[in-house]
């Protein structure tokens, strides 16, 4: 018994120290974002100081167009997530419930598509967007992100639909619902947490996406990751402001992560364990 509790103590120690180490960079940047220029170089990360919000104020009202970039990113993320989850849920319901012979093939195809490295599509997307006149538009990003999220959204929603027994829809249909009504009233209502989780994943992907936004956006439609990357090469001295920018970019995602961490953990592990 005593040996067990010593191992337990060791476990606690390792886990807590590791967690602290893992979170240190975030803590450091957060600290930097509320320090003034002077405090940056004079105070250590472990001492007390008077925090200031000046960096954030400059960041939002200064010469950089960040509110625009935030707006772009938010709009594109929300729109593409809605599209992905909608189309993906429909497809997922179909794959989950139907008895087509080529169901498996379809699912395999989607897994296959997930393996395509984004770089491979850079050149075609750029050329096609150029020809269609869709460079520097939010629309092209929405189209691309929606489609890229589609396989994952479908896969995730399928696992949620799989957990709802078809008997419930059949019962509803016996009571007089049409197939479509059964879908809406039963499947969608019961898979509600699934929608939340899938939407979160799609939002996170769209928010974080970089390489397509890099080549397809211009002045008007730059997204936050692209803007941050560009910002950095110019001002290497104003670390406080850069830190504020980084924290602002991280906060929405972290909020989502904390609010829905149960769903996220479930979504991540779902496919891995069940295959």
């Amino acid at each position: 018994m005593r040996r067990e509790s010593r191992v337990d103590l060791l476990t606690y120690l390792i886990l807590i120290i590791s967690a602290v180490i893992i979170l240190l960079p975030i803590y450091w940047i957060g600290l930097m974002s509320i320090k003034s220029q002077f405090q940056l170089f004079t105070t250590s990360p472990f001492s007390f100081f008077r925090p200031t919000l000046r960096n954030y104020k400059y960041f939002f009202t200064g010469r950089i167009d960040f509110p625009l970039y935030l707006f772009n990113t938010i709009v594109v993320a929300i729109t593409s997530s809605i599209v992905s989850v909608s189309l993906g849920s429909l497809a997922a319901y179909s794959i989950s419930r139907s008895t087509f012979k080529w169901r498996r093939g379809l699912a395999s195809w989607m897994i296959f598509l997930r393996m395509v490295p984004p770089v491979v599509l850079l050149v075609p997307y750029y050329m096609i967007a150029k020809i269609l006149g869709l460079l520097d538009t939010r629309l092209i990003l929405v189209i691309i992100y929606s489609t890229f999220n589609l396989p994952f959204a479908t896969w995730l929603m399928k696992s949620f639909f799989d957990e709802i027994p078809p008997a419930m829809e059949e019962a509803a249909m016996i009571d007089g619902c049409s197939q479509f009504q059964a879908f809406i009233k039963i499947a969608i209502r019961l898979a509600y947490p699934g929608f939340a989780a899938t939407t979160v994943f799609c939002l996170i992907y769209s928010w974080n996406e970089f390489i397509f936004a890099l080549i397809l956006t211009g002045y008007e439609t730059k997204t936050v990751p692209v803007a941050l990357a560009a910002l950095f090469t110019d001002q290497v001295e104003h670390w406080g402001e850069i830190a504020a920018a980084l924290i602002t970019c991280m906060i929405p995602i972290m909020l989502f992560a904390i609010l829905l961490q149960k769903h996220i953990a479930r979504g991540i592990t779902l496919g891995a364990v069940k295959g």
């Binding site: 337990d8 960079p25 450091w28 941050l228 991280m250 992560a257």
Partner: protein, 309 residues
């Protein structure tokens, strides 16, 4: 008349292999159609389009039209030493990152599996690096790596050590990039492996204990035996992810110093949008696609064979 039309529709559906009665199946097709269409148009078609472009010499900065040159783009690439350096770096990156992530992640998973109270908060906490935009992670670490004012330099100075030049030393630069990826994604590996560990039935452990197996033997035969498919999935996931690494390196070093962090995706990006040699870029893309898919298929084949055993 409608009965007649129904019969024809049924025959058509039957030919497609749909066994069920008309109404029920038609709606499933309608549900599938938008998604499949979107994927075909937005993902499959551009792949073929890119493949076609790879046979042309096409420089976007010159006013010349694209010129058909057959496989010459491919031969140029395969004779370019930079290409092989990029491949080498990418493989090194993948190998180093995946193996270290697996070892650390598995260790953490084992620790979490002991189900101690309060470890849930820790689990929540380590989710955070995964959620951060890779670009942001790269930028955070770029600041951390600064040899004068970075956090790492600060800590090393506290114990009177000089900080190595993380980003300007060509021997270390790739490792610096690997550290970032390890930092961000080890939690993911941990979570997935933990789920796999939790799926092991308690009886298996009891049988091992009754049979008098030592701790190491239990670990080897029971734990690893059950967790093997999950391990393969995790490795597949991480290999695929690390082969396509771009954001971190673009932001951290841009491929430098020299060519020490030049990875294949960066090389492709540079050829296509730095030099605007779109044909060569397309050829590189196709090569990368073939290599990535090839590795993926091999790994998946591995998974299915092991599963049967």
């Amino acid at each position: 008349m409608w009965v007649h039309k129904r019969k024809i529709a049924k025959k058509m559906l039957n030919r497609l292999g749909i066994k069920n009665m008309g109404h029920k199946s038609a709606i499933y097709l309608f549900f599938l159609a938008p998604a499949v269409l979107a994927l075909l148009i937005v993902m499959i078609y551009p792949l073929f389009f890119g493949f076609r472009i790879s046979f042309f010499e096409w420089n976007l900065t010159k006013r010349l039209p694209p010129e058909f040159i057959g496989f010459q783009n491919y031969t140029n690439i395969l004779q370019d030493p930079t290409f092989f350096i990029a491949v080498k770096n990418t493989v090194l990156f993948m190998g180093g990152v995946v193996s270290i992530q697996f070892l650390i992640g598995f260790g953490f998973a084992l620790l979490f599996d002991r189900n101690l109270r309060g470890t849930n908060i820790v689990k929540m906490a380590i989710l955070l690096p995964m959620m951060i935009t890779p670009v942001v992670a790269g930028l955070i670490w770029t600041l951390m790596y600064d040899p004068d004012f970075g956090f790492i330099a600060y800590c090393l100075n506290l114990i009177n050590l000089r900080s190595p030049m993380w980003l300007s030393n060509p021997n270390i630069a790739l490792i610096s990039a690997m550290i970032i990826n390890i930092w961000q994604w080890t939690p993911l590996v941990t979570l997935i492996l933990l789920a796999g560990l939790k799926a092991i039935p308690q009886e298996a452990y009891e049988v091992a204990e009754i049979s008098g197996a030592s701790r190491i033997q239990t670990l080897r035969y029971v734990t690893l035996g059950y967790v093997r498919p999950v391990i393969l999935v995790v490795i597949l996931l991480r290999v695929m992810d690390t082969l396509r690494v771009f954001d971190i390196i673009y932001v951290l070093t841009g491929g430098g110093p020299g060519l020490s962090t030049e990875v294949v995706s960066l090389f492709t990006y540079r050829e296509a949008f730095g030099f605007f040699k779109v044909g060569k870029g397309a050829a590189l893309s196709t090569l990368l696609l073939i290599i990535t898919m090839g590795i993926g298929l091999v790994l998946i084949g591995f998974m299915y064979r092991k599963a049967e055993v």
